[in-house]
Symmetry: C2
């Protein structure tokens, strides 16, 4: 059955978008059908996959707040088998608008529900907060993937995210599990990265992907071309690392 | 009179906290009295200045939502002349709680107003969103400082931030100005950094600080010690760069 993976961490700039785009692209290249849901008003996943957020007729904003249909919004990308539900800056108003709307936590799940079986993997790229947009993602997700940057502030907000996850599991979505933790922007020449790695592996054990994502300029360059790293520089360290991480995620499914 | 600088950018991980801590510390070392207001539930500015958010009796959360007084919360730091109004994870609930509260945009300004004259500079470290916490900061700020990371996604959310700034100026705070734009995490060995620099200087001219902040590991290490870079490694590239940027900000005042 479809795996719905919320890529979430309230810490900003920890490669939530980079991870959503590139894991989804790797799985599509392995023959899976994958969807990226861009749930961030910055619309970085949208532009990172080559779509201009300002040129869109309909986006996730209209789906959540104006009942526009899924079919009218979903778009293809430059990768076969990879699709995106794009975002626009309008989504910026959604946190406050959702605060007093009926069924506010279930808006995304109601819109996605009828289409879930069309995809093997759905990645939801969350904004850097634990507000109602992220709650909508955790309401429909089967698992959460947490990218952790190998730097000091990385562990600060983690406790809150795990607490919120438990609350969602208790009150809204009993199926939600902690899937993987992915260590990103690992810089092998500094002690800092090694210290964070040791601390995270000690605390979370097997939940942490064996594969880490190195800090690498080609990963920061790829979004400018509107392509995932597997198309922009398929043999770069970033592409090789995301492919190995995607295989780990795929394998986790087979073991059940 | 006191300069109240909101350090804001909805893009995550662009050194809002690192800039708030280190500019405030540099100005304190030049003999000014400075306050950092931590308006982020992650409480990175709080821990980055050596205070344990979990050990606090009162924080910015109680000030905004429970009318606790400023004096009961403000704390000193390891730097003479530098103070902090700390945050805790409780602030995570504030966005939703504020949505329906009376005077929701003015809660921070009402709490700070009586104490503004005690400081030469007040830096407000904003969370990575344009929600009610950032609106509270822009309601009392005299100017906004926007850190821009020298990477592709950096320019995506900027338009929205400037639009929101205009709206706040029209409806709530006519004194709010765009102060400085600070280019951060500049990596001189990549084309990407140079391209973003050229684009930002072309678009914003003199608003962009001449001084850029280089990507440097000691800036990422400093928060672990609870000290600003000027105390952790005073002669590092990061410390030298923040000192030069602080001088530019100071000079802007003298010219009026
Ligand atoms: N492994 C990497 N090496 C180098 N740069 C990277 C890497 N991963 C991501 N980046 C760059 O770091 C920046 C932050 O990444 P990204 O935007 O994916 O993070 P995010 O968590 O989605 O941010 P936000 O919190 O704003 O949504 C981007 O400019 C991105 O291109
Ligand atoms: N010039 C620099 N060189 C190297 N690392 C840096 C630099 N500036 C900041 N960092 C590191 O980059 C990460 C992001 O910086 P910081 O937390 O200050 O950003 P932020 O914008 O406050 O993030 P958030 O959006 O989560 O509030 C931190 O781990 C910080 O230590
Ligand atoms: Mg993102
Ligand atoms: Mg911060």
């Amino acid at each position: 059955s479809t795996r719905i993976i919320a890529v979430a961490n309230m810490k900003g700039g920890v490669a939530k978008t980079t991870t959503s785009i590139n894991l989804a692209a790797c799985l599509a290249e392995m023959g899976k059908t994958a969807l990226v849901v861009d749930l961030d008003p910055q619309a970085n996943a949208t532009s990172g996959l080559g779509i201009d957020p300002r040129a869109l007729e309909g986006s996730i904003y209209e789906i959540l707040l104006e009942d526009l249909s899924f079919e009218d919004c979903v778009e293809g990308t430059s990768v076969k088998g990879l699709f995106i539900l794009p975002s626009t800056p309008d989504l910026g108003g959604a946190e406050v608008e959702l605060a007093t709307a009926y069924g506010r936590e279930h808006r995304l799940s109601r819109a996605l529900e009828p289409h879930i079986d069309d995809y093997d993997y759905i990645f939801i790229d969350c904004p850097p907060s634990l507000g109602l947009l992220t709650v909508n993602a955790l309401t429909i997700a089967t698992e959460i993937l947490i990218p952790i940057q190998c730097e000091y502030f990385a562990l600060e907000g983690l406790g809150q995210l795990l607490e919120n996850m438990d609350l969602i599991r208790q009150h809204i979505n009993p199926n939600l599990e902690l899937g993987h933790i992915l260590l990103v922007m690992f810089n092998s020449s500094t002690n800092l990265s090694k210290q964070v790695e040791d601390e995270v592996r000690e605390k979370f054990g097997d939940k942490v992907c064996k594969q880490m994502i190195p800090r690498s300029v080609s990963l920061a360059e790829a979004p400018k071309t509107g392509q995932p790293i597997t198309k922009y520089k398929p043999s770069s360290r970033g592409a090789v690392a995301y492919k190995a991480a995607a295989k780990e995620i795929l394998a986790a499914e087979l073991n059940g």
